[in-house]
Symmetry: none
Subunit: 407 residues, 2 copies
């Protein structure tokens, strides 16, 4: 029997409130330059420290040993979905990041303007990194000229600089397709192809992309340097069982950035708009407390500073969150898990594979008797080092949402 | 290649003696009420402490993260069988708990007397919890009237209060079947059905249950309040490869409670009757030392007190076992593993999913240099947090029962 099926079989309803607080890119590594302290270790976190008395700790492997996740797989795993089984295309992630709402079956592509010569050879894959305003203008032009191809709706939205996103909303479409991108200059744009030659839906989608090129290139003709475009990560929004269906939980997302709102919507969470700061997010949790069973609260700034290699900034971001934590605890959830979706070590200025620390507290979590919540503490905790996809299962267990297995 | 097949392939015979000492429900959680000490931590355990110098520790996940096992899956995992692959029906477990010996292919059901109205509607699912003596009397009556149905032998044994067990011993039978239980009052008893509509054996078993009802209900007619009965967990005893076949080990079980004798028999262990206390069990191990390769020694009282929420009782039960331990060590086994089949935290008064601590000692176990065997120590041990089903493989490895894999 499949393990997910077993979990479903054992699942029962309880009136518990579960909160998953994600400090994006929280995990870090200890280096000599920072006296072998991570930002979480260097930060002053009196409220997190206080939680540890009645909490257990451990580390989460986002996908598999050594694999660095993007935000998509990182969050899907935290939501309890195997990030290898449930794959979300880059086009879909990009669209979500721009705040676009996707429907199951939509095919999305990351695109960017490029410069072509008269023979269609790619001269500059980024069209000289045109300004965002130019990109917006060109996308508006394309949107005006191309609203539909056959019976398929075409949605074009600008991103930063040369980047944009195209969504095809129609029937019988499927990804993933190969890229319309030669990956280097001096070559023509290749025609996209199905990755599964037997899929009629992929064939239909590939034909659609070809037709889109036929319609769009003439519109851009002469518009130097952005007279062409490349498309990558062409994939459909997969059917992912919703939180409600999978766990029987009415789930809400309190996120500020579009990407995380989008990822939570992929699993059917209700996005709660409005809050701009972590204090406001916690305040809103208090207001919405009775309306949902599960709250996903996303905090971006730990990752942002990690990406910038800004140790002090990441430390401060953790301290800011800690300072706001008492608001959340005014209505202490039955189960509270605090973690990252991955590590973003300042010393690396990028996401990494290092398992992120996690803290879990409930009336029956037990205690690891640790003084603080840190990477080093997490190494000593009773959760051990486990795959991130099991965190949600442990939250359910702590909420007494599983019957006993066998007699 | 399947991992079990690899283990089998590498397996060799050695004259080692392996002892698996199971303190049922040993694991616990640290809570404020008990000054953040678990019973194992609070107990005085000089002999266990002494063992730790040359032992390694870790924690065992009985089934999967967050899943709370019953005694069946808990023990099957300790015996090295994947508790999801090898499932044992509740009827089978119940029969084993009553001390009934099952044969492979027997179909067993948990049953209980109920009250029906003249139209066959269930008025009381537990027949007013009739006294055990009444249950015994009714089971004797049914046994006398119904010895066989067709060529299938029918065995009926009373349990406590309204509960009993029915075993069907014949050819070509198989479970699991759906329950003959409406699960609430005000409805009729549903006919049982195969869970796999394609299984001819399940169909035969379902027909047999229907015939059993036809024969048994008239016998109970007018016997208020127990004039009917419900049947649940109808399953056959699965074919489980024996210890001897799977590991090449002649295994003995030293258990006091029928359930654990039964579980050990499921995997072909020889049950050694007689001992009533842990000291007597250890004494008997000394006597039987040369007759077996593997000894499963089961100690119930840790779980019993955990279920009662009796912290002092659980602590005392651990101390009692520790006091008797020197008897076992008079003939120190080549490999000794001490663990639980799951946790039974006093604060929860029930089994739980928290990984139970394990201690493993042999001449080549190495040492984790810990002072005591505790949950907190186990968090720091070199075994890490692993699935319980691998413990037996580690015991085999410590007994040098595996050839090197590859050159």
């Amino acid at each position: 029997m499949n393990l997910d099926a077993l979990y479903s079989q054992l699942q029962v309803k309880t009136p518990a409130k579960l909160v998953l607080l994600v400090l994006d890119g929280l995990g870090d590594i200890a280096t000599k330059e920072q006296n072998y302290l991570t930002p979480l270790e260097a930060a002053s976190t009196p409220h997190l420290d206080k939680l540890t008395a009645d909490a257990v700790q451990g580390r989460l492997i986002p996908v598999a040993p050594g694999i660095t996740p993007g935000s998509g797989p990182g969050h899907l795993a935290l939501f309890g979905y195997d990030p290898i089984e449930f794959q979300v295309g880059r086009g879909v992630i990009e669209a979500l990041g721009l705040g676009l709402e996707l429907k199951a079956g939509d095919v999305a592509a990351r695109a960017n303007f490029c410069t072509l010569n008269e023979k269609g050879i790619v001269l500059d894959r980024r069209a000289g990194r045109i300004k965002t305003e130019v990109c917006e203008e060109l996308c508006a032009l394309l949107s005006k000229k191309i609203k539909k191809i056959g019976d398929t709706e075409v949605i074009i939205r600008p991103g930063k600089e040369h980047r944009f996103v195209v969504i095809f909303r129609g029937k019988g479409l499927e990804g993933p397709l190969t890229d319309a991108d030669p990956n280097r200059e001096g070559l023509a744009i290749p025609a996209v192809k199905p990755t599964d030659p037997k899929s009629a839906k992929q064939k239909k989608a590939a034909k659609l992309i070809a037709d889109f090129y036929k319609a769009a290139l003439p519109v851009l003709k002469g518009r130097q340097p952005a007279n062409g475009f490349l498309m990558r990560g062409i994939a459909h929004q997969p059917e992912i069982p919703t939180f409600e269906k999978r766990y029987g939980l009415r789930a809400a997302a309190l996120a500020v950035y579009p990407m995380y709102k989008g990822l939570s919507q992929l699993v059917g969470m209700i996005k709660i708009e409005g809050p701009e700061t972590i204090a406001e997010q916690f305040e809103r949790y208090l207001v919405e407390h009775d309306n949902f069973d599960f709250f996903f609260i996303h905090y971006k700034y730990t990752d942002k500073h990690g990406e910038d290699g800004n140790f002090e900034g990441k430390k401060k971001a953790i301290e800011d969150l800690d300072a706001a934590l008492p608001i959340l605890l005014e209505k202490r959830p039955t189960v509270l898990a605090i973690t990252g979706d991955h590590s973003t070590p300042c010393a690396m200025k990028s996401h990494s594979w290092h398992p992120q620390p996690v803290l879990l507290t409930s009336e029956c979590s037990g205690s690891d008797k640790l003084d603080r919540f840190t990477e080093t503490g997490a190494n000593l905790g009773s959760l051990g080092i486990m795959e991130a996809k099991y965190l949600l299962r442990l939250m359910q267990a702590n909420a007494k949402m599983f019957d006993k297995y066998g007699a």
